[in-house]
């Protein structure tokens, strides 16, 4: 294979990796603070895609505004979900909280998917892109909408990492992730942080859906495959670890793109594209459940 073709695949992998990181980070923050895997994450991503589609497409607002709208809307939705469904679990109002958390988020996924199916129908829609045209990097040619979306996603991730490190709210989130009770003892409102974390996680999923909507189209089941990728990413990086999620995402992006190129039978390689990550997921879960970068004590 030529260097240009290889470079193209690596760049594609990097772009896809940025998308995966955005979706996976939300999952990781929610797990870190609330100790639950959000099985409705893909549907929050999908709702974000539809929010962007409605605001930018149907209402005709500028795409950057639609992106912000999707972020804010999903932030509010996430906080409401935490308040209504997740908080009772931490207040001892629910029997068998572990099983409850899995089933309630899965139930939420069913609800959101069918709700959007009822409202918008099963058809795919293409919302307006953030940026049109092509970008040439040396000999490489990349489509502009992908690059712009990935760059914005990267920016959002950088902003998030900064907020988690530098602001009081970010420190509170990290403190509750480490130890909920001790955090409460030193005066952190763990309920507020729980709500904030679910809101933030949902908003990140929504932003990912809004950014990827113009590239991969918007439809009610659009979240199913990306969220499975996000699971792969967080498990690769260790559940609850933010740097782990970013590294895991970049790794998965590369694995998928290179595996597709390196497997000789092209049609088959493409047909199985979504399965590589899953095989990786199963392998990591069986051989190193704490993830490649996670600590053993953090595993369930």
């Amino acid at each position: 294979m030529s260097t240009v073709a290889l470079g193209e695949q690596v760049l594609n992998g990097l772009i896809i990796g940025a998308f995966y990181a955005l979706a996976a980070l939300g999952l990781s923050i929610i797990f870190g603070v609330l100790k639950i895997v959000n099985f409705a994450h893909g549907e929050l991503y999908m709702v974000g895609g539809f929010a962007y589609y409605v605001v930018a497409g149907a209402l005709g607002l500028a795409p950057p505004l639609a992106l912000i709208a999707a972020f804010v809307l999903l932030f509010l939705l996430g906080m409401a979900i935490e308040w209504l469904l997740i908080r009772p679990m931490h207040e001892g109002k629910v029997e068998r909280p572990d099983e409850y958390a899995i089933m309630i988020t899965f139930g939420l996924a069913i609800l959101l998917q069918n709700l959007m199916l009822s409202v918008f129908g099963p058809w795919t829609r293409r919302p307006p892109a953030l940026f049109r045209g092509r970008v040439e990097v040396g000999e490489l040619v990349v489509s502009g909408d992908r690059l712009a979306a990935a760059a914005l996603g990267g920016l959002l991730i950088a902003l998030l990492v900064y907020l988690l490190r530098a602001t009081l709210a970010g420190k509170a989130i990290r403190a509750v992730s480490q130890d909920r009770e001790t955090a409460a003892v030193v005066g952190i409102d763990d309920r507020l942080v729980g709500m904030l974390a679910f809101g933030l996680g949902s908003a990140l999923a929504g932003a990912a859906g809004a950014l990827m909507g113009p590239v991969f189209l918007v439809y009610p089941t659009m979240g199913v495959i990306p969220v499975i990728k996000a699971y792969v990413v967080v498990v690769l990086g260790g559940l609850g670890s933010v740097p782990g999620a970013i590294l895991g995402a970049l790794l998965l992006g590369q694995v998928e793109n290179l595996a597709t190129v390196l497997i000789p039978d092209t049609t088959r390689a493409v047909a199985y594209k979504d399965a590589y990550g899953l095989v990786l997921l199963v392998l990591v879960l069986l051989l190193r459940p704490q993830g490649l970068f996670g600590e053993r004590t953090r595993s369930l």
Partner: protein, 310 residues
């Protein structure tokens, strides 16, 4: 006394189901009820795992698909009689269940959920991709279970399979094994410390549950005459979960009734289109949050067929 009344209610329901198609229930609704029995086998065998052993698997629809594809491929490809291919599907589902269970039952809670989703999607992707063998997303035609005009043999076969599945699970649950399951659900380490062979019984539950899903899938293939990858989708899994949760996933009989109920309601509400599935999602969430015993668990308690909080 309570036992008596519960048994009486069950016997009454059974008689109604036996007589209904003969008492003027049209061919269409007979068919719908038969499909309801398919879902009842799935939801009750899923609740065996969730309600009794405390393990949540998202691969149940995939195991049904495994049974269906095995039976369809063996009957059309190899020309075997259906009487052989359906049991073959059961065996394949049980064996794959055994292997998957061996690999991942040590994982806890959400990790098991993630692994089973991954397995289920890998299987669906592989079946969709291997077009030469499976005809991909077009689906594979399967011969009819009983040829002839009457739908009645299908109805009674599925009903008999449901009763056999429920009977088998009931026998297992009322034996010592049922107690082991309960002990594992309550506290795995405590159970192990008093000598319960935790790994073995978890594996038994997972394999039995998978085998019954394979049975349901095999029968379904030859009633529907078509097997498609969509029967293994996450959406279909959500449907099975909804049935078990709405019926009451702490009891195999309630979960089975949930399967029949939802299939019938689904057909009855056909004119509201996709909104009925939205409604199911909402009901699932409300039940999980406020009434985790499900519709039939709550009803049984209200009628005094079952004791209060366990």
């Amino acid at each position: 006394m309570r036992r008596h009344r519960a048994a009486l209610a069950g016997a009454f329901l059974l008689v109604v189901l036996l007589v209904l198609p003969l008492a003027g229930l049209g061919a269409y609704w007979t068919y719908i009820l038969a499909i309801g029995f398919y879902y009842a086998i799935l939801s009750s065998s899923w609740s065996l795992l969730v309600g009794y052993v405390g393990r949540i698997s998202f691969a149940h629809a995939a195991f049904a698909g495994l049974g269906a594809y095995t039976s369809a491929l063996a009957s059309t490809g190899l020309g075997w009689p259906i009487a052989l291919t359906i049991p073959l599907g059961v065996v394949v589902a049980a064996l794959v269940g055994l292997v998957i269970g061996r690999l991942c039952l040590d994982l806890h809670g959400a990790y098991l959920g993630l692994t089973t989703i991954a397995f289920s999607e890998i299987l669906r992707i592989a079946i969709t991709a291997e077009y030469d063998v499976t005809r991909g997303s077009l689906g594979l035609a399967a011969p009819l279970l009983f040829t002839g005009d009457s739908r009645l043999p299908h109805y009674y076969t599925l009903l008999a399979a449901l009763l056999a599945a429920l009977g088998l699970m009931w026998l297992v649950l009322r034996s010592r094994i049922g107690l082991f399951f309960n002990a594992i659900r309550e506290d795995e380490e405590a159970a192990a410390s008093v000598g319960v062979r935790v790994a073995r019984w978890k594996l038994v539950a997972f394999t039995l549950s998978s085998a019954l899903a394979g049975l349901a899938g095999g029968l379904y293939a030859h009633v529907l005459q078509l097997v498609a990858p969509s029967m293994m989708s996450i959406g279909e899994m959500g449907f099975i979960l909804s049935m078990a949760v709405i019926g009451g996933f702490h009891n195999i009989f309630y979960a089975a009734l949930g399967g029949i109920l939802l299939e019938v309601v689904l057909e009855a509400l056909r004119q509201i289109g996709e909104w009925r599935l939205t409604l199911f999602g909402l009901v699932v969430i409300v039940i999980l949050r406020y009434s985790p015993n499900g519709v039939f668990g709550t009803l049984a308690r209200g009628l005094g067929l079952e004791r209060g909080p366990r």
